[in-house]
Symmetry: C2
Subunit: 415 residues, 2 copies
């Protein structure tokens, strides 16, 4: 079996970690924060090496995500200190029951075990993922995008040193520097040793993991989010929410891709939205009614089926006129990605219908979809946003990296 | 795409079900209970047809699980009424937060959506699975073992009639009668329409589903459970617990397969255990020390590596002498199936170490492993026992067939 001896050691390290104290784990995080700042020169040198190797045709956004600098390094160190400050999710006691025979049951929070996280070429994600997973008592296997290999190699070394200095086994953490993708496929088969896989990245990576993993997954899938404006909504609020949801940071998964506008407010609202978005040079794709309302405007094209289904992650938006909340719900049910959806309305019963019937991780009433984020939600960070139905929906915080198991205490009970 | 139009209808039915009331869902369960009794003759006739078709070499246990009679039918009807009586897990509100900007967040419990359950040739499981899944607001796809096809076909029809009489769409439930296994493989690819797969049965079925499913799984895997008796334990209690855990119903997953006995009590305890188990004609496999202690006893053989790893589900047991709680924990970590483990000791600190370090769904102190069961735990039933790390550990009750998503209510908040 590939990597068996290494995986056995990690499994043992995860067992030892179950017994570690909050204070020990926090000390590792604080040490790592120190070393990040001390090793700035080495890290930035490695980062320049990675940047120099980039093919000339990568997007500026890709390059930006890979780039580190003094400011970003201190933000990473600060995030480690913040995670150290968070309450420990482990050993938290949940539901308690006493059976009629006197057997005492309680649910107690425990680590997941060994987490394998696969992520894009964003060095800061290595630090975030380690800090969240380790804080919640898990042994971590990290594998970043190959374009960041020199940078993450230095970061991995720093994490190892921090572990060693605090006296934890080095096998508590495995940072994979092998750029060959084969190793990912091999590890996805190792369900005896790896408890959970967390892929984070583009659709290609997610599909690869879903198609090949024998290990349960916490999926950070795409965000195709909608805002629906109902009949009688406060139009100024609607404009404010929609423009924010689309333009404030279009490259993230909680930004909005499609607006659904009730026909009774379409004539008035759509030109307001169009005008406001022109300062961000937003390109529009609209249904026939939208195109008609915006006749003569240069940044509007007719939407095709493909548009409704596209996560642009860019200053591009879809607009559709609908005749009812039911039509809006049906559209979202068909095209949404179970991430974040919002309704703008003054009618509480319509809002409740929408919030109840829409099957998404977060359903907003009169707020921007942009709040779906572990920091914004007060979870102290996130390993991503889950769009799946099992285990966790929405921001994946510390608690989502643990589970609840039963501890039963008796006095000799038998059946 | 295979079965696409059917699956689309089920998806729509699941959406409608999200809006159904507790009372409507309970009425379906009570109707089904009525029909089960009314249709006794038809059901038993179909059951006899199935029984007659059984190959002559099936085990008596297999045949017993397939067999229905008046008493079993009324137990099935009673279980439907009991599930109707359980509190509705839906719409339960969990964690609440108010962000600094005034945005109100709360977690609200929702159905998983569409659940595909695959089970062995046990007709009562069809009723149990439908009642638990449907009560918690899920559309259900059921596929029982082919040997039960005539029996479950009648049961499926009863469930359909109950749905129709209460006015719910027939597509809320799909009972698959096609005996060709191809359909299972086809459905395991349909991640757009099916939210969760629940396989229940032998290792072959579980592995088939794990290897082929693109859909997240709630796994009901094997139970290889241990009882460890520590130095200084109350030996009468130890005998009582071990004999119960092994012999009371050996064919179920929460029965014990291996005893681990501390060397300081082995000489005294092992002969007591052996003698007690002889009335159940239990066959023993022991390590060298056990074999030596029981020298001359006829029902003892030397255990091989394979024995420690076998879920007997029969009156067969393994016994190993260990020198410490650490050795017991290491053995369980190597061979256990993360189901149920127990320690017998008078020492609270040893018990706590064992309960903390053992990574299983339920860890007992001074009690039999046989309590790991949805009814025993007071969950009102179970769809199985989960041995996985994500979403649910131990008995899968109504709550485990739902998830928590975020409902956010604002007054125009933007980032």
């Amino acid at each position: 079996m590939a990597h068996e001896s290494k995986l056995k050691k990690i499994h043992l390290a995860a067992r030892a970690l179950r017994l570690s104290t909050t204070e020990t784990r926090n000390r590792v995080l604080l040490k790592a924060a120190e070393f990040l700042l001390e090793e700035e020169e080495t890290i930035l040198k490695a980062n320049i090496k990675d940047l120099k190797k980039l093919p000339s045709d990568v997007s500026p956004a890709f390059k930006d995500r890979l780039t580190l600098n003094t400011q970003r390094l201190s933000a990473m160190a600060e995030s480690l200190r913040q995670v150290a400050d968070l309450p420990d999710p482990l050993d938290e006691e949940g539901e308690k029951r006493v059976l009629r025979n006197g057997l005492q049951l309680k649910k107690v929070r425990a680590p997941l075990g060994v987490i394998f996280m696969i992520f894009e070429s964003r060095p800061n994600v290595a630090i975030e993922a380690f800090s969240m997973g380790f804080k919640s008592g898990n042994a971590m296997i990290l594998r970043g995008g190959k374009e960041s290999q020199h940078t993450v190699a230095v970061l991995y070394k720093i994490l190892q040193t921090a572990l060693k200095q605090v006296g934890l086994p080095a096998d508590t953490f495995w940072g994979i520097t092998d750029p060959d993708r084969k190793i990912v496929n091999q590890l996805l088969q190792q369900k005896e040793f790896i408890d959970v896989v967390v892929p984070r990245g583009g659709e290609g990576l997610i599909n690869f993991v879903v198609n090949n993993s024998l290990i349960p997954i916490i999926k950070n899938d795409r965000g195709l989010c909608h805002v629906y404006v109902h009949d009688g909504a406060d139009l100024a609020m609607a404009v404010n929410i929609i423009v924010n949801a689309k333009t404030q940071r279009p490259a993230v998964c909680n930004s909005m891709e499609t607006m659904l506008i009730h026909s009774s407010v379409a004539e008035q609202l759509i030109p307001m939205l169009y005008q406001q978005m022109q300062s961000f040079n937003v390109k529009w794709f609209g249904d026939a009614k939208t195109v008609k309302i915006l006749k003569g405007s240069k940044n509007v094209k007719k939407a095709s089926e493909k548009n409704w289904n596209t996560e642009y992650l860019d200053q591009i938006v879809n607009c559709k006129v609908v005749n009812s909340v039911e039509e809006a719900i049906a559209h979202i049910d068909k095209y949404g990605s179970k991430h974040s959806e919002s309704i703008v309305t003054a009618d509480a019963s319509i809002a409740q219908k929408f919030q109840r019937e829409i099957d998404a991780a977060v359903v907003y009433w009169n707020a921007s979809t942009r709040f779906t984020d572990g920091f914004e939600f007060g979870l102290g960070g996130e390993l991503g946003i889950s769009t799946q139905k099992l285990h966790v929906r929405g921001p994946v915080g510390l608690q989502a990296l643990t589970n609840e198991r039963w501890i039963a205490t008796g006095t000799g009970q038998v059946r």
